[in-house]
Amino acid sequence: MRERSVTHSAATPGREITFQALADPTRRAVLDLLRRGSQPAGQIASAFPVSRPAISKHLRLLRRAHLVREHREGRHRVYQLNPEPLRAVDSWIEQYRVFWASSLNNLKAFVEAEHAREREAARKQRKKS
């Protein structure tokens, strides 16, 4: 399992790197900003009260997580949002939504049937005595 997921992350960034990238409020704010459209690095930096190198570092992490794409336009580095990795995270969690919903359905059916049976048995018992 572990080996497999390592191989996997070599090809595409794993969910882990996505979550790591999302764990920082500034990086989330950068992504939010990019939802409005691609922007050059300078413009992104000016939207935040942190240093330019700090923003560069955040952008680098976001790029490594494939959450943003970078291309050059003249002398500007322009960043574009890529929401694909987020879908992978969501589909992973979706699995458990389905799992627990169906487990609880099973639990309900089982317990209600058992409870009705036990009550019926108790009722008969009372009648007898």
């Binding site: 399992m1 572990r2 497999r4 997921s5 794993g14 969910r15 882990e16 979550f19 790591q20 999302l22 764990a23 920082d24 409020p25 989330r28 992504l31 939010d32 939802r35 929401p83 987020l86 879908r87 995270v89 969501d90 992973w92 969690i93 699995q95 458990y96 939504r97 389905v98 627990w100 919903a101 169906s102 487990s103 609880l104 359905n105 099973n106 639990l107 309900k108 059916a109 089982f110 317990v111 209600e112 058992e114 409870h115 036990e118």
Partner: protein, 157 residues
């Protein structure tokens, strides 16, 4: 019944259900291995084994036959952990290590809360730790809020 998405505060999912039986009856189904084997199963992946030592720190383990579904390359599912909260008939919580997770050694937590209602029991299951990122959680304490809104926004966009 409702299964909400990840809550805004944590990397967790919440699933809720009303059951027309008292909490004691529900708690038994949650902790008796013989009963677990009957309901904690599905046609997709029939349960092979269910063991639980129903007490605080007690271990549990379940495994399935080869199922018709594949998660992360796994089709014979195995999951185990320890009971971290045992308060019959109100709370049962256990750690959840599963062989279909990216990293099967990382801890996730399942907490089941039972609340007595006039017509039975309200059951609430919270499964947390799903992002499997203890390092980030420690380093960026308070950094989680908003992740889920982001996810939602992006996915719905």
């Amino acid at each position: 019944m409702s299964t909400k998405g990840v809550t805004p505060e944590h990397d967790e999912i919440v699933s809720e259900m009303h059951i027309a039986a008292p909490p004691e009856r529900v708690f038994k189904a949650l902790t008796d291995p013989g009963e677990l084997k009957q309901w904690f199963s599905s046609p997709d992946c029939p349960v092979k084994m269910w063991e639980m030592d129903p007490r605080l720190d007690g271990a549990y383990r379940y495994s399935t036959e080869k199922g018709s579904i594949i998660v992360n390359g796994v089709s014979e599912f195995e999951c185990h952990g320890h009971i971290t909260e045992f308060d019959p008939p109100r709370v049962l919580a256990y750690t959840w290590y599963a062989n279909w997770h990216d990293d099967s050694t990382r801890r996730t937590l399942v907490r089941v809360e039972l609340t007595a209602q006039e017509q039975g029991t309200h059951v609430k299951v919270t499964h947390s730790g799903l992002s499997n990122l203890p390092i980030a959680r420690k380093d960026y304490s308070g950094g989680w809020p908003g992740v889920v809104e982001m996810l939602k926004k992006f996915i719905e966009q």
